[in-house]
Symmetry: C2
């Protein structure tokens, strides 16, 4: 049985569900215990966009170099990702090389060449100005703010960041957080930004900085979502093998924002389901290098794991009547 994905359904019915993402499009060379990838397609905007593309059309704002292959362009646009905002500029595409430890929560950066990304200044095509759903992936908070400055009336603004900006550009980041609705951040970053070790206290502090929702990513332990009056916690989907954890958080954010855009309504129930779809895409992306696994997914694969996830976390389990 073939099921129409929400993307197809969404396209048929309305266009206002587009999600704009700004962030990096890089080549990554990655080593894990399980193998090596050489100059594979990577970057936060890439992972976000491919994951989100299952749920809604995506508009991408980023910069790549002259070396960026047309096949990759075609791959992205073939997924419903609008590349009008992707600047192709003289020079080379950004490059990151890293090696993961046996404990995959730890990695070493072996090389980082920003290349054309070094002086990237986001310029939104006129056609992007009506975007309702915006995700500011991890880049300099000044650039994240520049994107917001070009959007007259965004509906939902999500944001990620990292240690580098928390330590080095705290005031710019704090200013930005006053304009953001949903902060998506990992636990270590949440501690650094809030100054609190305890996850509940950290989230309270981060909510006080502006966002109405704070989602704290805990790697293999899942995600915990806070608002002023609710908490929702999910484990990660347990996998026998994590091949390469790169992009899990960005794919999480892509599916999270994608599901919300697709639904076109924001309430507790939608936000919780969005977290689960985020975990589902995050669990797929780590099964192979780059976006290989999620690019190959069918909507049925996603629904199947979504239901497995619900079963994993369902404390009123009624399907089982005997051990």
């Amino acid at each position: 049985m073939t099921v129409a994905s929400p993307l197809e359904r969404g396209r048929r019915t309305r266009d206002s569900v587009s999600i704009l993402v700004v962030g990096s499009v890089f080549f990554d060379s990655i080593e894990t215990l399980h193998g090596k990838a050489d100059r594979a397609l990577g970057g936060a905007a890439t992972y976000f966009a491919v994951a989100a593309s299952f749920f809604a059309p995506v508009r991408m704002v980023a910069a790549v170099g002259e070396d960026f292959p047309s096949e990759e362009m075609e791959f992205l646009s073939g997924r419903g990702i609008d590349l009008a905002g992707l600047q192709q500029r003289p020079g080379l595409t950004g490059y990151w090389a890293g090696r993961y430890h046996e404990d995959m929560n730890q990695r070493d950066t072996l090389q980082l060449d920003l290349n054309v990304f070094a002086d990237f200044r986001p310029q939104l095509p006129a056609g992007y100005r009506d975007t309702q759903y915006v995700f500011l992936a991890n880049i300099d908070p000044r650039l994240q703010a520049m994107v917001l400055d070009q959007l007259p009336a965004p509906g939902l603004i999500g944001c990620d960041t990292m240690n580098h900006w928390i330590s080095g550009s705290r005031s710019e980041l704090e200013q930005l957080l006053g304009r953001v609705h949903v902060l998506v951040i990992n636990d270590e970053e949440a501690r650094l930004l809030s100054g609190e070790r305890n996850v509940v206290r950290a989230a309270r502090r981060l909510l006080a900085m502006g966002p109405r929702r704070v989602l704290i990513k805990r790697g293999e332990y899942g995600v915990i979502q806070f608002s002023a009056n609710s908490v929702f916690a999910v484990p990660a989907f347990p996998l026998e093998e994590v091949f390469d954890p790169t992009g899990a958080g960005d794919s999480f954010a892509g599916a999270f924002m994608g599901y919300i855009a697709r639904k076109g309504v924001i309430n507790e129930s939608v936000l919780r389901t969005a977290v689960v779809y985020g975990c589902v895409l995050g669990s797929f992306v780590v099964e192979e290098f780059s976006v290989k696994r999620i690019a190959a997914l069918t909507w049925e694969d996603i629904e199947q794991r979504y239901h497995a996830f619900i079963e994993l976390t369902d404390s009123h389990h009624s399907r089982w009547t005997s051990q």
Copy 2:
């Protein structure tokens, strides 16, 4: 409104639900960032028994010294804990002193005096031989086996252990695991015992050693329960302050076993609800030193947090219709 606890209801209807626990009853001196406790009632059997006592009558098998105060005896028996199996012997009660780091997953042992526990040999009173529900808290696997040898027909056998026995008494422990139905263990111990870092692979290996269920405790990240054909994962209840993590795992096990004994039936649904009640009691015990917090709980407190826990983890959240 006063609600009859399952304990009261259980007592009225049947006695076969009694749970036998064997393990340590100690005095603990504990330092955390939040304060100090001096020679407070502790030990795995104590935490287990007090938590389980909300759900079912408990039979305790342990040893204490002449210094063990009659008030503590009265406290325990006042909670429906049968002390016929608690040997009071010449010498001193076991003593442990420890200090937790700011990261409460880490602690240093400052002093450990086994005292009368050093040559403890469990002797079950004749009245304990019909026990259906048995929990072998963390002690020498030889002693755990000795308890099983004295039980003609136990229905459900749960077991905990620790690094010390995994490294030092592996063959005795592996033999024991062939006789156990439910293994309750923390993630570090699961890795050490299985030789696998990945939690899914670790659980598969542990299931192959005998138990039909493996519950892996992940501290502040919750619990994950495996059987041959199901996985159930829950986060821990998020607390703004963890006062003292001592006893969280033992209280978890107490409520888990207690709930199962109370229901008197073992199926997936009961086992999942038991995990949630385990997390509830585990979340209370860390709010104060020793068993102070859980000893003061009413059944309504437990039910309230149980419902908060369900809300925390409910991905089909329907109560909320607006943000």
